[in-house]
Amino acid sequence: MSDARPVVVVGSGPAGVSVAWPLVEAGLPVLMLDAGAEAGPSRVAADRSSLASLRTDFGTGRSWRHLIGPTLSGLRNVGYASPKLRTSAAPGFGEDYAVALGLDASGFRAVGAFSPGGLSAVWGAVVCAFQGEELDPRIDAGALDESYRRVAARIGINGSDDDPLADYLGRGLPLQPPLPVSSAAAALLAKKGPGGDGLTVGRLRTAILTRDLGDRNACDLGRACMWGCGVGAIYNSADELPALWGRDNFTLRWRAEVVAVESDGSGPVLRLRDGEKVAARAVILAAGVLSTTRLVLAARGGGQSVPLLNNPAVSFALLSPSRLGRPLAAVGHGAAQLGFRQIVAGKGELFGMLYDADTMSAVDIMSHMPFSRPGAAAVARRLLPAVMLGLGYLPGAYSRNRVTLAADGGLKIEGETSADCAATMAAAGKALRRSMARLGAHMLPGSFRPYPPGAEVHYAGTLARPEDSTADGAIVGLPGVVVADASVIGRLPAKTHTFTAMANADRIGRLWAARLSGV
């Protein structure tokens, strides 16, 4: 007799959706539970005008509805977290999260949200494949390669293999044509450095469509990416839910917050916030690293402490004086324009991306200037055409965070970096300053500022040790419980990691699909 219990996937973020597809394709009954409320109307209206016209065109009226949102949620202070949480997150995004998880973070900026699509609703969509040594050796590289290709085809990634960064970002993926880069970015690309300084600048891979895919449209080059995408070009895992929903063997429940993973002897049982219990053939946790880790630690009991990897991050500003006075571009995309990789002699590397400054809110840039507001505004107006803003990441090996389950069931996070992290970051900054200057882009003094740990939201590795999980994501000591998000990825190179987490979830999904349907 076949088992009537569903395979339960917890979380509708990139990992949850990626693990769900192979299970659904294999014909298994899949129930996805998500703590978020069904997506309300998007903050971004499909008929929003371009960023340039929102900013300058009195005729469009109501620019504010798009720039700060109809309920003015764009006015909330998000502190040092990504400005995207202010410019594009839906009202209330992430507000109940810290309370529900009982988060007690010190020295660590913990970001998360109960929301359809999880954090992919606001992410930057920069995707990289991990290669060779970068990959957690426990993960089967061959299987992962196939998953990278499956995920790339599913979500739509633009980029080019004919590019200086292609070797680093990974070749051989099915790619859509690259987005056109801005003139500032093109100028940097054209100036080949003398080499030997460890810097490579090239095009990025982003999960942004340049060709229509399913219900999603190609980028309309309105340049307002930072305020959310109105046409669905930027991948958000919630956009895949209708297609999953269309399958008979897939069910999705909103407002279903899992508060505990238990067992009834014959298999795992999930307890929901309202007390309801859901029995499962297998439970696949993809609730985001923090939430997944809390559920697993609580299920195993005992005051355990596990490591939490993240990429120490930095932001900086580059000025190209030759571009001063240029008009700002009215057409283009507003996501990261370029990628860079700076090798720091004897110390590893910094990977990152460059944005045109005018594609962000000038207010966030001005808040770093020691000037009066009118002075800062006047400076910003003159600098913006010539400035690119950078984000950079060191490998996760420089992080030393720890996560502990507190006695009250809450999650305690202690943020820490390795002893050599600050020095390495400083050395990377110095190297980058020198090599960028050779390209005519000068780092603005005082602009190279490390983020507080956690603010970059590349979390991983909490459950990746052999005593915690197997290479297939199965949790040791909890039969029938599998983890499919980045919690089970034990190594973070300097790259952004979500694409790899999705590919790994797909790999885990395919493995368990075969196993569970073989029963």
């Binding site: 504010w64 003015l72 502190g79 107006r381 003159r382």
Partner: protein, 415 residues
Amino acid sequence: MVAGPRLVITGAAGYIGAALAAAARRDGWRVVALGRSPDPTVPSHPWRLGEDPPAEALAGADAVIHLAHQWAAPGAQGEDPNIPGTERLLEATRRHGVRRVVFASSISAREDALNAYGRLKWRVEQTLRAPVELSARIGLVYGGADAGLWGLLCKLVRLTPILPMVGGGRPIQPIRMDELCDGLLRLARMPAPTRAVYGLASPTTISFSAFLRTVARLRFHRPLMVISLPLGPVLAAVDLVSRVVPAINRERVLGLAGLPVIDNAADIAELGLEIRSVVDGLAPFARRKAILREGRALLRYVLGVSPPMGMLRHYVTGIESYGGGRPLDLPAPLLTVPGLLRLAEPVGGKGEGRHTLVERLEMAMILAESQPVGARRLYDYGGTPRWKSVLGLVGIGAIEALLLPVRMVLGRRYR
């Protein structure tokens, strides 16, 4: 969708009516106006006091709140139209089996009231006879739109710093508009009332002059001096003046001077109403006003021009929703000459959730950027000759360098 209970309001376009219609809808009632409608979204049936209400207006009504009052033409003779008018309305509600009628009466309602209005309200109350028909004796209503007697008082208080008045020491029993609406709606749905008349007014009194002084201070941020005048001579003087200015007459003076005090603590308790003191009741006003003033200054400072009204409103909402909800205690010179902030703006210190001046300036900046008037200052889509741009940067840099030490000293207290 489950349809809420149906509430018919007469006088819905008036000072209380408009607020009541809005409150009722928030409370889940389906509101119908009998007579003029406060706004196009409230369905209405044409009617005037004295006419038979159209049957379709009352059919299926769960409650009627009767606010409509017809002011007698000056010097009118004969029976007041409010009495037969209300009787007609009641005949109709009885015919339709409406389960609750609430008549808006006044705290001054008495058979032997000093003023005609109080005597009239008392007589109308007598037309209510069925147990489902209740009278609400309403105290001095404040808050809400600047209309009605409240609007008149606001005008008066703003007009002059010294106010001579009759009966300034008289105790009054105010009620805030939202409390009144809450009370009326509670009466409309109360299953088993224990009395026919409920007093909707503060059970504790405040002197009229103290009330006005509080309004002046909290709502208009100005001091007010009230000078009490003796009633007799004033009435004589008013009698003289009213021949020339009919708006000033004996009735008005007596209406203010002649408010009786009612003991309604038990009524309020039965209704489960909460009535704030005037100071508490006006506090949000005062706060909002101060935030508005602050917003005007800060937005002007970052925009360089006066902010559009909508942006100011956004500032207030922003501070109330995300900025702690309280105005900063900025000194008056900064509020009147916002340009001075250039000397007093703190250096750095983007506080996280501490609601400091720096955070507010950041919010003001975000608001400025959210509309072309401000965004055009920040984003140059037209381009500028390069030398001009460089020269500008050098100039601003020089000015800011000079300002920096001043700001470090003056701005310290706002960090």
